[in-house]
Amino acid sequence: MTNDQGVPSNVLVIEDDVPMRRFLRAALENEGYRVTEAGKAREGMTMILGHPPDLILLDLGLPDADGMTVLRRVREWSQVPVLVLSARGQEYDKVEALNEGADDYLTKPFGVPELLARVRVALRHSARIKAGAGEGAARFESGDLTVDLGARRVTAKGADVHLTRTEYRLLALFVRNAGKVLTHRYLLQEVWGPGCELQTHYPRMYVAALRRKLEEDPADPKYLLTEQGVGYRFTEGT
């Protein structure tokens, strides 16, 4: 994988477990990325400063410092995409990392296809922002679903879909962040505005409504996926 100048993207892996690092390196290099490794938080910080990477894979449990600390320090001056690696049952940590500016997360154990998909989405997203193209595409098309943000037109299952204003705002946010997980807090802030942070059922009710209008089977969705305990992810469908 290359960036817009035709140079392979540089991925920094900050992870203390050696076999895990080896596996990540193998999987990423096989896809054409350049990979650098750090086993500790301090080492990782030095490498980020010395040779800024295009993407960081960050383990949350590091021996010398909390991964969250690294994330906060990086976010003080850089918008480089950060993918957090964590375990199931630590939904709270994931949400906190995402709210602190992580771009996405991977739950251990994860498969190679999942890893590559997340890395691709994060890099594409950051390239768009760098190019000044704003947050995401103005048009989304996949299978039987099209969303045209310019024309404010949504079609699904072969027909025009009529949305309410809130539904549309929510869908537009998902489309602009396609592939990324969005936390409840982020959705509430962006769609409902400040003061609603505790009303976590708002997005859930609206996602349910959107699913009924957009999905073939709202109880087994293709596009609007729930990441239980974390938030929602809008995908291209599988």
Binding site: G89, Y168, W192, V207, D220, L225, T226, G229
Partner: protein
């Protein structure tokens, strides 16, 4: 009650001289280093004490309490008997009593209380102390009650009536013996209705009336014939004896009645206490029962985790007594405080420490209807007994909780060790496969046949998945077992959780058909998304595992008035009759699929634990037409009023 025969007992009464006796006893107890008890005996006579004498008695009791004595009020007919009975029952070695100044015929005939104590004391030492009156601000009445005018009127009327009847008998020509019997009747009537004094008065009056009216010469007190002297003497003795006996009977009946009332109250209290469980419920039952007896608000205080006294039950009472200092003092010193007691005498309530053999465990507070109302020995005695009953009940509750906790701990420990042995097997199997397979691949090196290599790698991948799932289940079970997990409930459309569970099951489902029947108008359900997703994941995973690949798995949802019912059904072999409960036990593995499905038998146990912490139910059954169905319910609540739909017109109108 302490054991040993060293306890010291001091007898107290209303006499002002008791104060000195109490002080002597306190000094003696202190120098001997033994506990001591101050006992007052309630007889029919003491109940008839004047108000002043009652106060004096109370003051003496309070003085004894303040000096460090345990106080008891005994109840019975004979002071000496009661004291000795109590002393023997409570291993008392020494009895102290003031020098008696009893007067009257009873003291002459039977001896004073001191005499009787000395006679019957056996191996108990009796110390007789010279009491001395201490100056008191208020004048104290003597022990006897004032003549009850009504009683004496009854005596007079009885004698007059007897005289009339006797006159009629005399006119009818019957002998004097019959007439004297009528007078005896009058004495009995006067003694029963009026008490001892009127009884004696009636006896004297009867003798006089008999002499005056029926002994010749008539209408004089002179006695003409010597034989009438005997008749008069016999009548006098019989009248006095009968009168005394009748009065004593009356007193005994009264005492028995009072004791019965008290026993009944205590019995009702113990009934109420035995029917309650939990400290809060016990306190509530006691408060209700005692409030009924005393017709005044009652509260039970026990120390909280911070050591400060607080109400044993919620919520706070509106009018219950609340005087923290008095309550705290009573608790700290194990002595009665508040209204009429030695400490905090002006408080609006009486605070009685509730003690058991293991110390004071709380305070019983009774609001006083008016100052000093609770101070009577009967009430104090009743309260002390009630306090002990409540304390014992609460202590029993504490012990029960502790026993339950240790039993649970033992059970948990047992579970844990059997879990460990089972799990270590389940962990080792996939690890052995992975280690063996990868070792084989390494050994084959470049020479491996590509299809063999592919097959071996697939196996490694599958075993890793199994291992991952097992570890995840183990962790989930551990978290649930620790009991610290409470569901973080939020409002969910049920489809949301079903969808995310199915999303996680893509690999296991491998394109198998999963039918869903979900009504469109389902209300949102309060639940913990991560947990309920796990329940659905485990149930559907189970259904997939235990049913043929070409049979669909069905998920059906229906909503009742106050719960939502979720069913996961398969077309597998179903459950054996004895399995419907067993499947939810940890480590249980279905007999139906012993061969092709492997796991640690934790999935359903986890599902059950999660559903239960949500306040729902879960059960298993067989389906008509074959297969098993797992059903769980989740309680519904009043859905949130605000669904975030402000400014929500159709997009086209913007």
């Amino acid at each position: 009650m302490e054991s040993g025969t060293d306890r010291l007992l001091v007898c107290i009464g209303p006499s002002p001289t008791s104060a000195k006796v109490i002080r002597t006893a306190a000094r003696m107890a202190a120098s001997l280093g033994v506990p001591w008890t101050a006992a007052s005996v309630e007889t029919g006579r003491t109940r008839a004490l004047s108000a002043g004498a009652r106060d004096a008695l109370l003051e003496n009791i309070t003085l004894a309490e303040r000096s460090g004595a345990e106080t008891v009020t005994l109840s019975g007919y004979d002071v000496a008997d009661e004291i000795l009975a109590y002393a023997r029952a409570h291993s008392v070695g020494r009895i102290i009593i003031g020098k008696s100044r009893e007067r009257g015929w009873e003291a002459l005939v039977r001896g004073t209380i001191v005499d009787r104590l000395l006679r019957a004391s056996g191996d108990i030492d009796i110390y007789v102390v010279q009491g001395a009156a201490e100056p008191r601000p208020a004048p104290q009445a003597s022990g006897r009650r004032r003549p009850d005018r009504r009683g004496y009127l009854i005596a007079l009327a009885a004698v007059i009536a007897a005289s009339l009847v006797a006159w009629l008998l005399h006119r009818a020509g019957l002998s004097e013996a019959n007439q004297s019997v009528v007078f005896i009747l009058a004495v009995i009537a006067a003694a029963i209705w009026g008490g001892l004094g009127p009884g004696i008065a009636a006896a004297v009056l009867s003798v006089l009336a008999f002499d005056y009216f029926f002994v010749p010469p008539y209408l004089t007190l002179a006695v003409g014939d010597v034989q009438y002297v005997v008749t008069l003497l016999v009548l006098a003795v019989v009248a006095l004896l009968v009168g005394t006996l009748a009065a004593r009977l009356r007193r005994q009946v009264e005492t028995a009645r009072m004791r019965e009332r008290r026993l009944e109250s205590l019995y009702r209290l113990s009934e109420a206490l035995s029917g309650a469980s939990g400290v809060s419920a016990l306190a509530l039952a006691a408060e209700r029962e005692l409030a009924g007896i005393f017709e005044s608000p009652v509260a039970v205080y026990v120390p909280g985790e911070d050591g400060a006294l607080g109400l044993a039950r919620a919520p706070e009472p509106q009018s219950g007594p609340r005087e923290p200092e008095a309550a705290a003092w009573a608790f700290a010193n194990g002595m009665v405080a508040g209204d009429g007691a030695g400490a905090f005498p002006s408080a609006g309530a009486l605070y009685v420490p509730m003690g058991t053999a293991h110390g004071t465990i709380g305070v019983l507070a009774v609001k006083s209807p008016r100052a000093g109302a609770l101070a009577s020995p009967e009430n104090r005695q009743l309260l002390a007994t009630a306090a002990t009953q409540i304390a014992t009940a609460i202590e029993r509750e504490f012990l029960a909780v502790r026993t339950r906790a240790s039993a649970l701990e033992a059970e948990t420990e047992r579970m844990r060790s059997s879990l460990l042995s089972s799990v270590s097997h389940d962990l080792r199997t996939p690890l052995a496969v992975i280690a063996g397979t990868t070792g084989t691949l390494l050994g084959l090196g470049e020479g491996a046949d590509p299809s063999t290599r592919q097959q071996l790698l697939t196996e490694v991948s599958e075993e890793s998945d199994r291992l991952a799932r097992l570890v995840e289940n183990l962790l989930a079970m551990t978290r649930l077992d620790s009991g610290r997990i409470t569901p973080a409930k939020e409002w969910f459309p049920l489809e949301d959780v079903i969808g995310s569970a199915l999303g996680r099951l893509k690999k296991q489902a491998r394109g198998r058909k999963i039918d869903k029947h979900i009504p469109a108008d389902l209300p949102p359900v309060p639940l913990d998304g991560v947990m309920i997703e796990q329940v659905l994941f485990n149930l559907v995973d189970n259904a997939l595992k235990y049913s043929p690949v070409d049979a669909p798995v069905e998920i059906s949802v229906s909503a009742g008035a106050d719960e939502v019912v979720i069913e996961v059904a398969d077309r597998g072999p179903g459950l054996a009759a004895n399995e419907t409960r067993a499947v939810f036990e940890k480590l249980y593995r279905g007999t139906a699929a012993a061969g092709n499905a492997r796991g640690a038998g934790l999935g359903l146990a986890i599902a059950q634990a999660i559903v239960q912490v949500h306040g729902g139910r879960i059960w298993a059954a067989n389906r008509p037409g074959g297969g098993a169905v797992f059903t769980f319910t989740l309680p519904l609540g009043a859905p949130p009023a605000d669904l975030g739909a402000f400014d929500d017109g159709p997009l086209e109108e913007e």
